[in-house]
């Protein structure tokens, strides 16, 4: 089982049901896109930072959430500055930063398993439209279990190639890896069908 991005804690945000957090994020995300003033966007950003505090997280963790988008945000800021005005540039970048931070906060305070449960519950009404919720659940739990296994097989193939004196490259690794996975698929499917 691979570790998710969840950070354990006991704050009101951690205790809140996953479904409500997702709904709140959706509403907040829509509202923040209706904001037209950079000051309102800044207020939204500060409000999200207060929520980080409430969740027991420091400013440093909040900043770490922005790092992956920092370059794109910087480029967007410069493009807006050049094409529009400083106010518009500030509005767009502040708004996006607030949204990214809010979304990351849901991830940080919600266990992967709770989010998976929320999705499965959310899908239940769709079963009348032909969505096979049991198969969706099966594919989710299988994939979570397969992730470390596939990484392990990839490492084995790479080691075997190095031992034979081959220099592994993406192609000589990917094709045998996929053939191994396809062969596995038949065995796993038979085992699942035999048990049900």
């Amino acid at each position: 089982m691979i570790a998710g991005l969840y950070r354990a804690g006991d704050s009101p945000l951690h205790r809140m049901a996953a479904g409500w957090k997702l709904l709140a994020l959706l509403v907040a995300g829509t509202l923040v896109f209706l904001v037209e003033s950079p000051f309102a966007a800044l207020a939204a950003l500060l409000a999200v930072l207060v929520l980080y505090r409430l969740a027991g997280f420091g400013l440093r963790l909040a900043m770490a959430q922005l790092r992956p988008v920092a370059i794109v945000l910087a480029i967007l800021f410069l493009a807006q500055l050049w094409l529009a005005s400083p106010a518009v540039a500030a509005l767009f970048v502040t708004r996006l930063a607030a949204l990214v931070l809010a979304a990351a906060l849901v991830t940080l305070t919600t266990r992967t398993s709770d989010l998976v449960d929320a999705i499965e519950r959310g899908l239940a009404p769709l079963s009348r439209l032909g969505v096979d919720v049991a198969k969706v659940s099966l594919s989710l739990s299988l994939a979570i279990r397969f992730i470390p296994a596939v990484g392990q097989i990839a490492a084995e193939i790479r080691e075997a190639q190095i031992a034979r004196g081959q220099r592994p490259n993406p192609l000589t690794l990917v094709a045998p890896l996929i053939v191994r996975l396809l062969k596995m698929a038949d065995e796993i499917a038979e085992a699942i069908d035999a048990r049900s």
């Binding site: 979304a103 594919s139 990839a154 996975l181 698929a185 699942i192």
Partner: protein
């Protein structure tokens, strides 16, 4: 969907995670790191077909959304979908579908050229057709600006389409999964 279809979908979602853990290739002439992961949609569509391939990408996107750090550099979580480049992640679903449809269409006489075109049309043309307007919309910049910012990744993506095409052909020869459109056995 048979149980085997579900297993194939889950395995290709897991393959995406493994590709995300591959060390990125740095080609000095291009200047941007090439990650193996965006080969995933081309491989999924070209090897398990349009429907299962697209579902495997949808499953992978859901796994990222629920907080697993499966994107290169251990990124993941809902924040990915709030950022301006989310179209390039969500676009993987359509990319796999289009690559899959094209490979299925050319299946009986599949060559490197047709496999490459299928991978490039699905994994580059379709992906950028979703990713670039997304940046433009979310970031509030004109389409041309968003396109110029994305162009640096095209050479790397062409290399990946070539690698994916070669892999699709190798797997077709040794373990074909897609059935020809006519005359199902």
């Amino acid at each position: 969907m048979s149980t085997r279809d579900v297993v194939l979908v889950a395995l290709f979602a897991a393959l995406m995670a493994a590709l995300g853990a591959f060390p990125p290739l740095m080609i000095p002439a291009i200047g941007v790191p090439i990650t193996a992961q965006s080969m995933g949609p081309m491989l999924a569509g070209g090897i398990i077909g349009a429907r299962r391939g697209a579902l495997s990408m949808l499953l992978f996107v859901v796994l990222v959304a629920v907080g697993l750090p499966l994107l290169p550099g251990g990124r993941g979580g809902l924040a990915i979908f709030a950022g301006p480049t989310a179209g390039f992640i969500l676009g993987w679903i359509a990319a796999a579908a289009v690559t899959g449809v094209l490979v299925e269409r050319f299946w009986s006489g599949l060559s490197f050229v047709t496999a490459f075109l299928a991978a490039a049309i699905g994994g580059i043309v379709v992906l950028y057709a979703i990713g670039i307007p997304w940046i433009s919309l979310v970031g509030g910049v004109p389409l041309a600006t968003a396109a110029a910012g994305s162009a640096a990744f095209i050479p790397g993506d062409l290399i990946k389409a070539g690698l994916a095409a070669a892999a699709i052909l190798m797997v077709k020869r040794s373990y074909p999964i897609i059935r020809p459109a006519h005359g199902r056995p």
